[in-house]
Symmetry: C2
DNA sequence: ACCTGAACACCGTTCAAGT
DNA sequence: ACCTGAACACCGTTCAAGT
């Protein structure tokens, strides 16, 4: 724009910041998938050289951790505050509000909020679930991990069960939330690259079809499930799983 | 050994087989971790060139899938058959046999078997849990994925709950099993490279210590948990989580 | 203090050439 | 039919050199 056309792709004038880098990384991850985050691609998008990024970030591991932290922070914030907004965006959820099923009434609702906050975040950022479990594995005491655990644990605390079951309950909820939300996000991605007009339903139809071809002797259960027509992992299914676990948490332990 | 010493590291005489490759891959994964599986390292271990592997395996993705399939097959087989042996190896589990808590008596025990079969397999192969969830995400109808789902689903079927809850129940169990077992395996790895004399307990002490440093306002739950002294994810903890979910599955849905 | 960009080591994958 | 190994494209990371 200023002088004639230049050869080099225009370097940036304002200085880089760590925040800009992390946001660009999240963007790249969302757009191009896990494999798309590259120091070269990222530096191009930021109009710098690869080396510049290393001034603000130690390496790829740290960059990934920062991106994960960023996305989770947003999710946890809107998860407790902007519930109405989040639920409004729900789309074809339908029965997503079948709450108030177990425990102290309002508490179950708040568990749904935390869960759905993460569900939505993972849907927006399909790379988030694998990344979070990796974070959980490699740095169990990292800030993100701890924040996630605390957010879920508080809801367990509110269920008013004996402290001895806190850890088990929180673990069960956390692993389910991460796993089921991750599965849902992955299904969406697979549906998307099945074609622009195909939705999650079309993709799940594919899976059901494959299941119906299984041998009746080897796979009686899976076949029966396919026959019953699975409309699986959308929000209602997800919430049903949370409720199931909450029911298990609040169930009196059987008299021995 | 035969003529004098040769320069090139001795090529193999017998022909390669896909099975050999997969087994060597599992071995390399176990020994060197996820990052250690390399076509060059693998081909060296097999006394060939990198290109040779491509004759039997399409690429790294397929190789990883095959390794995962192999490990899961072994786990699921010994999970139903060699229960006694598996449980015997339990080590310091202590109360791992507190079974028979919910549902039809024997059924809970069989769920424990399947769960612990996977738990042990993931402990032996720490790369297995991430790999399985990846497989679940990218190829939900793949053989491994389906076999895993069927194995867990059958136990759900045996619980004799309405078919409408089959999917939710199986999902909850599967995600918990994969998540909790993966967490346990990761803890073991972290403990291992904390030093040769450090065990899981020592490592978890580290985590608890970090948790105690958290701010009381921001992290009341996590702190309370740390104070109560966590002896977490060993087999008993793992089984407790399964029982919690089973309790949720068999709990009568609350009268609406 | 912050950025540049060539260079290094290493990766998955391909493929002409061998047997 | 099966294997060899050099070559290609691409990656994360480093670092002397610039401003």
């Amino acid at each position: 724009m200023t002088p004639p056309t230049r050869k080099k792709p225009e370097r940036r004038t304002s200085p880089l910041s760590r925040e800009q880098i992390v946001e660009a990384a999240v963007d790249l991850l969302d757009t191009a998938g896990e494999g798309g985050l590259t120091f070269r691609a990222l530096s191009e998008r930021l109009a710098t050289g690869p080396g510049a990024i290393y001034w603000h970030v130690a390496g790829k591991t740290e960059l990934l951790a920062a991106a994960t932290d960023h996305a989770v922070t947003v999710a946890l914030a809107t998860g407790s505050a902007g519930t109405a907004e989040t639920a409004g965006t729900a789309g074809s959820a339908g029965m997503a509000g079948m709450a108030e099923t177990a425990g102290t009434a309002g508490t179950a609702g708040r568990i749904h909020d935390v869960g759905l906050g993460l569900f939505d975040a993972i849907e927006r950022h399909p790379w988030l679930a694998p990344q979070l479990t990796a974070q959980l594995s490699h740095h169990p005491a990292s800030p993100v991990t701890t924040r996630l655990f605390e957010a879920i644990g508080r809801q367990v605390y509110a269920l008013d069960v004996p402290p001895s079951s806190w850890f088990t309950a929180t673990s069960a909820l956390m692993h389910y939330i991460l796993g089921a939300a991750g599965q849902n996000a992955a299904n969406l991605v697979r549906a998307r690259d099945l074609g622009p007009e195909a939705d999650r339903g079309a993709y799940l139809g594919t899976v059901a079809e494959a299941w119906k071809q299984l041998s009746p002797e080897g796979y009686p259960f899976t076949r029966a499930l396919a026959d019953q027509g699975l409309a699986h992992d959308d929000r209602a299914q997800f919430v049903a799983g949370i409720d199931l676990i909450v029911a298990g948490i609040t169930a009196r332990p059987p008299a021995s």
